[in-house]
Amino acid sequence: MADALVIAELAEDGKVRKSTLHAITFAQRALPTLGGGFAILVLGANAKAAAAELTGFGASKVLACEDPAFKEYTAEQFTPTVAEVGKGFGLIVAAATSFGKDLLPRVAARLDAAYASDCSAVSGEGGKLVFKRPMFAGNAFGYCQLNTPIQVATARQSEFDAAAPSGGASPVESVTKAAVGAAASRVQFVSLEAVKSERPELTEASVIVSGGRALKEKFMEVLEPLADALGAALGASRAAVDAGYAPGDFQVGQTGKIVAPTLYFAIGISGAIQHIAGMKGSKVIVAINKDPDAPIFQLADYGLVADLFTAVPALITELKKRG
């Protein structure tokens, strides 16, 4: 019998990020196989306040490690404490955000544990955990087992619902910070330039409006009003980014961001494999393209063969009619 440890992720303001709740769901799904319960570990400059946010989710305990050195996240500061606490657990999990993907492999190495990244499911077979994870940019799924005493994994947020409060009050316990290695004194947090946008983040958005090279210099002019009407994030194909019509951090695709929103609009996007790899996990796909033979139509739930420069404004008008 073993327990799971969920590593909480905090926002810049010290509050718990919602990604933590997705990681809790992942841990809960592993529990029937592990046979134990789960605890949550919070590291932060004000970890106890954040820990208090997490007492209603059925954890056996919420561990808080409060230290000024945790004000800003660096893997070098966090790893020794996560590994020290993690030694008592069979499974250590976090969401596959840039935080989890940075920290957990480093923790795994410290514990000489095997690691499964970006898992989309977890199950059990013969008393052992089996992690399902996307490979080849989502063109295949692999089911793997980790043959080390401690197992480490990150969970793809879009595949696990946020845990709902289950009532009860998990006790909060303080833990002390573990001694750090030489690496911790050789890294310095300099700044975080947050992208100033009223729109949701691409990887968290439930609706995404993506544009291709066909939009040319009118990329923002045409797509922004549609994104506004839908409360959507903006994305782009690699071709649109390479041509300079959209900024680099818009890129959805194999080498860009992998997204899985509820609703995805592909506008003026032909559907290169590189792009499809990044968005085919979307629940509903809409394609607008004037080329009826564009490969994107084979994938789309709703294809509209039309000139995007007239179809997009018409779509906005139609959406507004709904009120």
């Binding site: 840039s98 940075d102 920290l103 492999p105 480093r106 923790v107 190495a109 410290r110 544990a113 095997a114 690691y115 970006d118 077979e125 994870r133 996307p134 490979m135 080849f136 940019a137 989502g138 295949a140 692999g142 089911y143 793997c144 043959n147 080390t148 290695g181 690496a183 911790a184 050789r186 890294v187 310095q188 947090f189 300099v190 700044s191 975080l192 330039e193 992208v195 983040e201 390479d242 890129q251 194999q254 080498t255 860009g256 609703l263 494999i273 996990g281 509903v284 809409v286 084979q298 789309a300 739930d301 709703y302 294809g303 509209l304 039309a306 018409a314 779509l315 139609e318 959406l319 709904r322």
Partner: protein, 275 residues
């Protein structure tokens, strides 16, 4: 500056939808797909080359780049291609993918770092076949080095790198003292992403990775390429990750068309119920 770059060859990522699962479901088959250098590793090599030269005079090298791969002999073409674009030396650790996992490669790379003593180790943020995204982080921990993952920009300072990291919601800047581990994201090959101490601020590179001119491809055949056995560098480490089965993702039932935006909005509202 001396930079060690880890490279992996992968089945052509532009045709990744053509990978097949073996009938018994126990293997992924990439037969018929061309081998290509993992794109993120190519970006890592480009960053290493920029860090070890004066951008204004690209032929003036100001450091050394060593490339390393874990692969069978026929993957030496991947290494030769890297040597042709400017890397100085190559190391091939003789191994098949089936003998490797992220944990084992990190241990093996540590052995190579201990021998080579580079100032910076650069890796792609992940290989686009296994999509594991772990070797760089693991290596940094084994070495007790600072790390900067998902790098979009690198600026060399005295004994340190200022790295802009691509994180959810923005760019996070870290300063890491050398020696350090850096893993790179796709924006690292933008024209103003990487500056060595020798390259003037504001200098613009061509966008993307560089290509080797023919004479360099010929000259690369004479550059040193060492071969090591896996046992030599992996110590007593064994595999710890076992894939028990593979499957294709469920196929989408796409292909339906709508006649106009009114029908589209109506379908999204009443059939798919996503508006």
């Amino acid at each position: 500056m001396k930079v060690l770059v880890a490279l992996k060859r992968v089945a052509d990522p532009d045709n990744a939808n053509k990978v097949k699962i073996s009938p018994s479901g126990d293997a992924i088959e990439t037969t018929g797909l061309e081998w290509k250098t993992n794109p993120f590793d190519e970006y890592g090599l480009e960053a290493a080359l920029r860090l070890t030269e004066n951008g204004k005079a690209p032929k003036k090298r100001e450091g050394e780049v060593v490339v390393v791969t874990f692969a069978p002999k026929d993957a030496e073409t991947t290494l030769r291609a890297a040597l042709a674009t400017g890397a100085d030396r190559a190391i091939r650790v003789d191994a098949n993918d089936a003998e490797l996992d992220g944990r084992l490669i990190a241990h093996a790379l540590k052995t190579i770092v201990d021998a080579e003593k580079p100032d910076v180790i650069i890796l792609g943020k992940q290989a686009v076949d296994g999509d594991s995204n772990q070797v760089g982080q693991r290596l940094a921990e084994l070495l007790d080095y600072p790390m900067a993952t998902f790098a979009a920009t690198i600026k060399e300072e005295d004994g340190a790198l200022l790295v802009g990291r691509e994180v959810d919601g923005g760019v996070l800047s870290l300063r890491v003292k050398l020696p350090a581990v850096v893993t790179v994201d796709l924006r690292i090959v933008a024209p103003t992403s990487v500056y060595s101490k020798h390259t003037e601020a504001g200098f613009k590179y061509n966008d993307g990775v560089r290509f080797a001119p023919l004479p360099a491809i010929m000259a690369a055949k004479k550059k040193p390429l060492d071969v090591k056995t896996l046992a030599e560098v992996a110590g007593g480490n064994q595999l710890s990750t076992k894939y028990v089965k593979f499957e294709r993702p469920a196929q989408r039932a796409g292909g339906a068309k709508v006649k106009d935006v009114a029908e589209l909005v109506q379908k999204l509202t009443t059939v798919s119920k996503v508006l």
